[in-house]
């Protein structure tokens, strides 16, 4: 759940239409037409990416006159199916996957079950990737992939590039080669598995 209190505002006289803002917006709320950036006010989630990366400092964040809250109530969806999807992505449903907004895996799973199919759609309804915008992309992609949805990158944007390695995909030769150097690959995988399979009562499924 996120309280959206900010809105990106473009200073039209400063904007040069370079399109960096539209390449970094995680929810596609800003785009350039006729060499000027324009913000879709309802879509903006106040992450500040456009403001932070505009080379000309043409964008400022202003307080919204009417703040609003976004979020998906996971309790309204089948808990068994949520758990199944999260476990397939190697996540515990209660696990936090966005440290800024506090979105948990179950909320993203619920958003997918509600019909969201892309990272930007999920960010738009849950608020994930609208804080720091950088740390939660992988569990988000993992959940979408686990739901059997094909990931298709926007070649024109920089929003995300692709899924990356996980504890469950590391090549065995790499694990053997480097585990004496302080990389606790196997032990950490076991730890993550314990987290994934801990149920609401605190019992661990073996």
């Amino acid at each position: 759940m996120k309280r959206v209190t900010l809105l990106a505002e473009v200073q039209q006289d400063v904007c040069r239409g370079c399109k960096v803002c539209e390449k970094v917006c995680p929810v596609y709320a800003i785009s350039v037409t006729d060499r000027k950036a324009k913000v879709k006010e309802d879509a903006c989630r106040g992450c500040t990416n456009c403001e932070s990366r505009c080379p000309f400092h043409a964008i400022k964040m202003v307080k919204r006159e009417k703040p609003f809250t976004i979020g998906v109530d996971a309790s309204q969806y089948d808990s068994g199916k949520i758990r199944e999807l999260c476990e397939k992505a190697h996540l515990n449903p209660e696990q936090v996957i966005c440290y800024c907004v506090g979105v948990r895996a179950e909320e993203v799973a619920a958003a997918i079950m509600a019909g969201a199919k892309t990272p930007d759609e999920i960010s738009s309804v849950t608020g994930i990737r609208t804080g720091c915008t950088i740390e939660c992309i992988q569990p988000l992609l993992r959940l979408i992939q686990a739901a059997g949805i094909e990931l298709k990158r926007d070649e024109n944007g920089w929003q995300w590039y692709g899924v990356t390695p996980t504890a469950w995909t590391l090549p065995e030769d790499v694990v053997q080669k480097y585990n004496k150097r302080g990389f606790y690959f196997e032990e950490d995988k076991q730890l993550l598995d314990r987290v994934v399979h801990t149920n609401p009562k605190g019992e661990e499924k073996k």
Binding site: V96, Y99, C136, G162, P165, R181, Y184, V195
Partner: protein
């Protein structure tokens, strides 16, 4: 024991700095080190075996840092760089918060000058990476005149900038395109221990390849995909890739201990430098970190121009102090009290998913946030440690930070520094105070805490040297005999 001989006047803390991530410096009306009952402890008096420093020092301190950097740079092989080539000097934002930031900026200036002088190459650029405050290095570049020094070729790069796929031993990871858009790269870093709770002093010298020079996908791999101790391999995987190896010229490091800048270290072999940095991190910082673990109860004060977890005392950041109830260097314990992996594994009801998860350092009875910045998700801190923020302005600033919408949900506000401290004394019942204000060469604490630290330091020093250090190095596969050769 004569305690008073070891207690000194408080050291002047790092001054507040203008930044979009902090309140206006003029709003910082008082520093906690100026409050009654505060003293400073010099780290070389607590731990006499700490090596001498170049900085802090006299008026020649920065000149001496420059000299050390130039001497180290003269020893490294630069023959691969030809006059017609382009070179990117890669820097990280954290270097600019060390000891006021000037020494790291001086290292970056020295690199530019020596590379040009030795190779004849003139297309030398600065690419300074950030974490989550995407304008942060832009601010430092201007503050230290690096834009002028690099002939207008100095830019800040962020993990959401255009990316470039990098094929590694473990699969595809992603770097920042502008980091790698030159013929050669020079890795400019430091041995400051920083986030030992995350990197556990494993491959610390390599870490920026998975952080400051990498896209968000790679950072997310580090913080979400591999686990708290395997995560560090992300950076090594990128560094070892054919692509990065084909561009890597050498590394130039500012050598830092908890007490100051101790020298410069350059090497074409990053892993050799990495081993030396491991000794600095474990041996020198390990003592002060272990000493912090001896504190039974205290009020922790944030008073430094940096986000909440990154404020400094005795070269150690607050995030590490929140884990000082455990041995952060001991790789046998999987989850430190604070990392994002730990934070992730807390349930909706506020309890950890795994019973053995260590709590945030229970010795911290209260946190007085006198001055610290936004720009890092910090709600976990105020949620788990009673927090008093000084002045409404800081509260308002946090409320407008997309990473900290919830920070003030769990913190209370005091009108002044004096009132915040009085409140903390009244509620906690302790007068032991540790101030994270970046004091150079020592640390500012209350007299009562100073007494405890003076008492404990000799035993801690002996325990680290004889018991903990050999264990820590063995866990990292580092040959301890190198220690004797370094003497």
């Amino acid at each position: 024991m004569n305690y008073t001989e070891l207690m000194h006047e408080p050291i002047k803390p790092i001054l507040p700095k203008p930044s979009q991530y902090g309140i206006d410096p003029s709003l910082v009306k008082a520093r906690v080190s100026e409050m009654p009952g505060m003293v400073s402890l010099y780290l070389r008096e607590l731990f006499p075996d700490l090596p001498p420093v170049l900085l802090p020092g006299g008026p020649d301190a920065i000149k001496n840092v420059r000299k050390a950097a130039e001497e180290a740079l003269m020893k490294v092989d630069m023959s691969m760089i030809k006059p017609e080539h382009s070179v990117n000097v890669l820097a990280s934002h954290h270097g600019f918060t060390l000891f006021g930031g000037e020494p790291y900026a001086e290292l970056l200036k020295a690199i530019r000058d020596v590379v040009e002088k030795r190779t004849g190459c003139r297309d030398i650029r600065l690419r300074a990476g950030v974490g989550m405050r995407f304008r942060e290095t832009e601010e430092y570049i201007k503050r230290y005149g690096l834009d002028t020094y690099y002939n207008g070729k100095a830019i800040g790069v962020a993990p959401i900038d255009e990316g470039i796929p990098i094929e590694t031993e473990i699969g595809t990871l992603y770097g920042i395109k502008k980091v790698y858009d030159a013929d050669w790269i020079i890795h400019a870093h430091h041995t400051d221990v920083r986030e030992v709770h995350f990197h556990r002093q494993v491959d610390k010298a390599v870490k920026p390849f998975g952080m400051s020079y990498a896209r968000c996908e790679t950072r997310s791999t580090y913080h979400q995909n591999l686990g708290p101790r395997a995560a560090n391999f992300t950076a090594r995987a990128i560094f070892e890739s054919k692509f990065v190896q084909s561009k890597f010229a050498f590394a130039a490091f500012l050598n830092c201990g908890p007490h100051g800048v101790i020298g410069a270290d350059c090497d074409n072999d990053l892993y050799a430098l990495n081993d030396r940095a491991t000794f600095v991190g474990c041996q020198l910082y390990g003592k002060i970190m272990t000493l912090f673990g001896e504190i039974d109860k205290c009020i922790a004060v944030l008073d430094f121009p940096c986000p909440v977890p990154y404020v400094f005392s005795a070269g150690v950041i607050y995030a590490n102090f929140t884990g000082a109830n455990t041995d952060l260097y001991d790789m046998e314990s999987p989850l430190p009290p604070y990392t994002w992996y730990t934070e992730a594994f807390y349930r909706r009801n506020g309890q950890p998913l795994l019973e053995e998860t260590p709590p945030m350092n229970p010795a911290i009875r209260m946190c007085v946030h006198n001055y610290a910045w936004t720009g890092y998700p910090s709600e976990f801190f105020s949620k788990n440690i009673p927090t008093v923020v000084v002045g409404e302005e800081q509260g308002k600033l946090f409320d407008t930070d997309s990473m900290n919408i919830g920070y003030m949900d769990y913190a209370v506000t005091a009108r002044s520094t004096e009132q915040a401290m009085q409140f903390a004394y009244n509620v906690t019942g302790t007068d032991k105070v540790i101030i994270f204000d970046g004091a150079m060469g020592g640390m500012n604490v209350s007299e009562s805490l100073a007494k405890l630290l003076i008492e404990k330091a000799p035993e801690v020093s002996e325990r680290v040297d004889n018991v903990l250090l050999p264990k820590w190095l063995k866990q990292r596969g580092v040959d301890i005999s190198i220690l004797n050769r370094n003497k």
